[in-house]
């Protein structure tokens, strides 16, 4: 399906390449021109992606705007794109944040501007590709390809320890993703064995019932690749390094979009492909998510560096997302999906703000500041909005997401939900404390007295994010409505397919991975089936929208 006959998803993916092509012909010295071309290219991409929001049909098929042509016939690889309610918002987030990042880099990047812009645009190609690819081979191609632009962003335009951070980023991600490739190849052959068809089509693979113990191993390989990306504790150590060293635009994209690829991978691949394994590993994954939530929050309390603080808060917030998704009920999954967007907007915004301050003072240490409220009132206001959104103040976006997640998690793992709720308090402590030290009081440091407030360009950078924060906070229905069918489908796939149990006499250990007694058996599939969810109606945030059947009437 396409809009007005245009292959809109391909257009969104590849229109930044036009900008790249133009940039190749720009003289290296003319950096102003390079900036305008990049802004135009990312702006056009954003404009092309907007119609998706309106044309997306909630009652329509699972995947919309599908494009499908054969690519590498020898392997059965297809160029297969499609969009559902989950990827819809991630694509919109990507195009918006890329545009904003290009604008934010206007004065921050001074050397090799043309190359910087080329890198940003290539990154956008890779990110959009990851979110809409429905062929697993194609997904893997984009997944690997977007590593390298980010590697360059950190390595070329980063700060002092950039080489270390860049290499660490690549090696961490690659180590995990090559194991995922092994798992992909294995699935490819399992699928071939059962259907006799050589294909990487995800939709075909969904029908596959992977046997045991292979399912545990394959899930582990996929989960590892995505857990590194999220990042889940204890695979998070690359993140603070990458964030601190990356230029502002890089951090915004990293926090806003790249981390979402990990959670997206769980939702799109690991969980629906391996439902029984998902259930088996669930207690451990929830445990790691909760550890990540608390650990990230505690580390934030003692951070003297603003950027590192925001980076560690990402670990905590992404833990929330994972907790919601692993709750595997309607509220939890909806909350997790929504919180993916919220985190992209709020944390992306915080990185932008820290970057703006860094550009003026060339330091990110909290101790260097104090009393900024007096010299930069507009900046202080924006900062407060993003801080409050990140804390989860009711009426702003963070509250909706976190509330849904906690409601969902409480139904399955009350202890996990209670522990995670502490992190909401901790977030208020570390963020407000940082805010207090930076903005309140007297100006103690002379260097801060002459700081200039935000010019129009920087206000324009932040304004769209503020609009989103308030919109999602006050009226999340349009977002939740569009995610709903995808969320229900995910729950259905994981819960109902989990009925396919391991053979009657399970091996004493799962291929030596863990003793099978450690793994939780899958539920019978009745407890949270989609039918039951539609009759549940409780809590402050009941399911928004109506059931597809009702709407059809």
């Amino acid at each position: 399906m396409t809009i007005l006959g245009f292959p809109i998803l391909s257009l969104i993916i590849f229109s930044p390449l036009l900008g790249v092509l133009l940039l190749f012909f720009v003289d290296r010295e003319r950096s102003e021109l390079a900036k305008w071309i990049a802004l135009l290219a990312s702006g056009v991409t954003m404009l092309i992606s907007l119609p998706l929001y309106f044309a997306f049909d909630i009652d329509g098929p699972a995947f919309q705007f599908v494009e499908r042509v054969s690519w590498i016939s020898a392997w059965g690889v297809e160029y297969h794109l499609g969009l559902d309610g989950i990827s819809l918002f991630l694509v919109l987030l990507t195009t918006l944040l890329t545009f904003i990042s290009v604008l934010s880099a206007w004065t921050a990047v001074t050397k090799n501007v043309r190359e910087f812009m080329i890198t940003m645009l290539l990154l956008e190609v890779g990110m959009n590709g990851v979110f809409v690819a429905l062929d697993v081979f194609l997904f893997y191609v984009f997944w690997e390809l977007m590593l390298f632009p980010m590697y360059f962003l950190i390595g070329v335009w980063g700060s002092e320890r950039r080489l270390y951070a860049a290499i660490k980023f690549v090696v961490y991600t690659m180590s995990a993703s090559v194991l995922m490739l092994v798992a992909i190849l294995t699935l490819y052959y399992l699928n071939y064995q059962s259907t006799g068809e050589l294909t990487f089509s995800l939709l075909e693979w969904y029908k596959l019932r992977v046997g045991f113990p292979a399912q545990y191993w394959l899930f582990a390989a996929f989960a590892l690749a995505f857990a590194v990306k999220v990042p889940m504790f204890p695979f998070h150590t690359w993140l603070p390094d990458a964030h601190v060293e990356a230029p502002t635009a890089g951090s915004v994209i990293l926090a806003g979009v790249l981390l979402k690829m990990g959670t997206y991978g769980f939702v799109r691949f690991a969980m629906p492909l391996f439902p029984v394994a998902t259930h088996a590993f669930l207690p451990y994954l929830i445990g790691l998510a909760v550890i990540g939530i608390l650990y990230g929050a505690l580390v934030c309390m003692v951070q003297p560096d603003m950027k590192k603080l925001v980076a560690y808060s990402s670990v905590s917030h992404m833990g929330f997302v994972m907790l919601g998704l692993f709750a595997l009920n309607f509220q939890g999954v909806q909350g997790g999906l929504l919180q993916m967007l919220n985190h992209g907007v709020s944390t992306g915004g915080l990185f932008l703000l820290v970057g703006m301050l860094y550009e003026r003072r060339h330091t990110k240490a909290i101790a260097e500041f104090g009393g900024l409220m007096k010299v930069m009132p507009i900046y202080a206001t924006f900062f407060l909005i993003f801080v409050l959104s990140s804390i989860g103040l009711p009426g702003l976006n963070g509250f909706v997401g976190e509330y849904l997640i906690l409601v969902g998690a409480f139904q399955v793992e009350p202890v996990a939900a209670v522990l995670a709720a502490f992190a909401v308090i901790l977030a208020a402590i570390y963020l407000l404390w940082m805010y207090q030290r930076v903005f309140f009081g007297k100006i103690t440091n002379e260097a801060n007295a002459g700081l200039k407030d935000l010019p129009l360009r920087e206000i324009l950078v932040l304004a769209p994010l503020v609009v989103l924060i308030v919109w999602v906070g006050v009226y999340p229905k349009p977002f939740l409505d569009r995610m709903e069918p995808a969320a229900l489908r995910l729950i259905d796939m994981v819960q109902s397919h989990a009925e396919v149990r391991p053979a009657d006499d399970p091996p004493s250990t799962v291929w030596g991975l863990v003793p099978s007694g450690w793994l939780r058996p899958a539920p019978t599939g009745i407890e949270y089936s989609s039918a039951e969810i539609s009759s549940t109606d409780d809590g402050l945030f009941p399911r928004t929208g109506t059931q597809p059947e009702e709407r059809a009437r």
């Binding site: 392997w75 290499i167 090559v178």
Partner: protein
């Protein structure tokens, strides 16, 4: 046995004949030609390579046999011959300026390249151990001399001598192994050896097993498998860079072709055993090659170790066997040719008259000094590291896909983790090119332009990308080329 010769006999080895004949013409042309114009010699060489390639393409699919079944021109040999011709053609393009400036641009250089190519082609097309040996010797003798072409350079002399001594040693092993196998089976024809080995009393003969072991050792030296790799770094470092580019892709592929011929056509009854030996060799070759490459400061040496590691990947495909596995060998050999000669091409292009720029330090800031070459080098490194949309990835994918199909999951996991290790050192070039400022000693301005060199690098880059994005065509040819081998076995 019938000894009468027919036209078909000569048609079968027509490409080899063209190359040998033209090799002599090049020598004569150098002697009597106008004023030692080395450019003309290069064009003449390219022309003969093109002619041989044309002959190869016309023979495709005919499966000719010649000289009472000792040589063949089946699709397997033709696919490999096309690879060898591409290696040599790229090497000739890369050589024009380099050899001229270093006073080795005489007829000998080009004719030796042609002879070596003819030797490689003979190795791929022989069905008889003696013919394989002759091909190998033609190749080896030519390469020993090529390594020592920089007569006044001590390292080049060291390289030639070392290569010669260890090469002779390896040849001894190989010949001894062939002799033992002949003793056990009573024939030197590969297909007859396989026939003989199917008999129980021959199969259990320890002489035959010693023969197999010796042959594996001999080829282990030639392909530079660990632990027979010791000569590689020194030889590759000391040889003229153009020769290194040639050696690390061409002869290696040729040895693989001959090894496959011997193992699959001749020793197929012993497959279970030799594949276990090669399993171990593949793992240690990949791992040691990659780990030692991490510590190199000289790019030429780094590429030498990387070529060891890549031989390990290809060996995985040999272990896997079957149409998919052997097809992957053919596919990977071409992909490796493009990425490896391309990377060497950048090194050759940056070589000044006086000195070559071979250390990582020399390339500081190179990506911004010379954007086009920087991007080309980046593409070659990505391909060597096996990143999607490059030929290197398609090749690895094909190898590991066939390995998973046959249940070699651990071999695949080890291979994959190895390619992560390799990413570190391939990206090190990218790090110095783009992320470190140019130093006093590094290149300050783009290297001098040279059309043949740029052509070679552009062709290699285009080949890498083409194989990465549209691998289907070459996959088809490579699978087709091994269909006879696997069907017969």
């Amino acid at each position: 046995m019938n000894f009468s010769l027919s036209a078909t006999d000569f048609l079968t080895i027509l490409p080899e004949l063209i190359l040998c004949g033209m090799g002599m013409v090049v020598l004569l042309f150098d002697l009597f030609g106008s004023g030692r114009n080395t450019a003309n010699l290069a064009w003449l060489t390219l022309l003969s390579l093109l002619a041989a390639g044309y002959a190869d393409i016309t023979m495709m699919g005919q499966n000719l046999m010649g000289f009472s079944g000792t040589v063949t021109a089946d699709d397997f040999s033709i696919a490999f011959e096309l690879i060898f011709l591409s290696v040599t053609a790229l090497t000739v393009l890369l050589s024009t300026r380099y050899v001229h400036e270093r006073g080795m641009g005489y007829g000998e250089y080009y004719s030796l390249l042609l002879f070596a190519t003819a030797g490689m082609m003979l190795m791929a097309s022989s069905l008889d151990m003696l013919m394989i040996f002759i091909g190998l010797e033609i190749l080896s003798l030519s390469s020993y001399i090529l390594c020592g072409m920089l007569r006044r350079d001590a390292r080049s002399n060291e390289s030639a001598l070392k290569y010669f001594l260890l090469g002779a040693f390896a040849t001894g092993f190989l010949l001894y192994g062939m002799m033992l196998l002949y003793g056990a089976t009573g024939t030197i024809r590969l297909r007859e050896i396989a026939e003989a080995l199917r008999h129980e009393e021959v199969f259990v003969n320890p002489i035959a097993w010693m023969g197999m072991g010796m042959i594996l050792v001999g080829f282990g030296f030639k392909i530079a498998l660990v632990p027979f790799h010791m000569w590689t770094p020194d030889v590759y470092e000391g040889a003229p860079t153009t020769v290194t580019a040639f050696l690390s892709s061409g002869p290696k592929a040729a040895s693989f072709a001959a090894l496959i011929r011997i193992l699959v056509e001749g020793l197929s009854p012993m497959q279970e055993q030799w594949s276990q030996v090669l399993w171990v060799l593949a793992v240690i070759t990949m791992t040691l090659g990659n780990v030692v490459a991490l510590q190199q400061d000289n790019i030429k040496r780094m590429l030498a170790y990387s070529s060891i590691a890549h031989a390990g990947y290809i060996l995985v495909a040999v272990v896997v066997g079957g149409a998919e596995g052997l097809g992957a060998v053919v596919f990977y050999a071409l992909a490796y040719t493009f990425m490896n000669t391309g990377a060497f091409g950048v090194l050759i292009l940056t070589a000044d008259r006086g000195r070559e720029r071979l250390t990582f330090e020399d390339f500081r800031g190179f990506g911004f000094v010379s954007p086009a070459l920087g991007v080309a080098m980046f593409i070659f490194m990505l391909s060597l590291a096996g990143i999607p949309l490059t030929g290197g990835f398609a090749g690895k994918f094909q190898i590991f896909k066939s390995a998973i199909d046959q249940g070699y999951i651990w071999l695949t996991v080890i291979g994959m983790l190895n390619s992560v290790v390799s990413i570190y050192y391939y990206l090190r070039i990218v790090v110095v090119m783009y992320m470190q400022p140019a130093g006093d000693d590094s290149l300050q301005e783009p290297p001098r332009a040279s059309i043949p060199l740029y052509t070679a690098i552009a062709l290699a880059a285009a080949g890498v990308i083409y194989l990465g994005i549209f691998p289907s065509g070459w996959i088809g040819i490579s699978l087709q080329s091994v269909s006879l081998l696997t069907a017969g076995g």
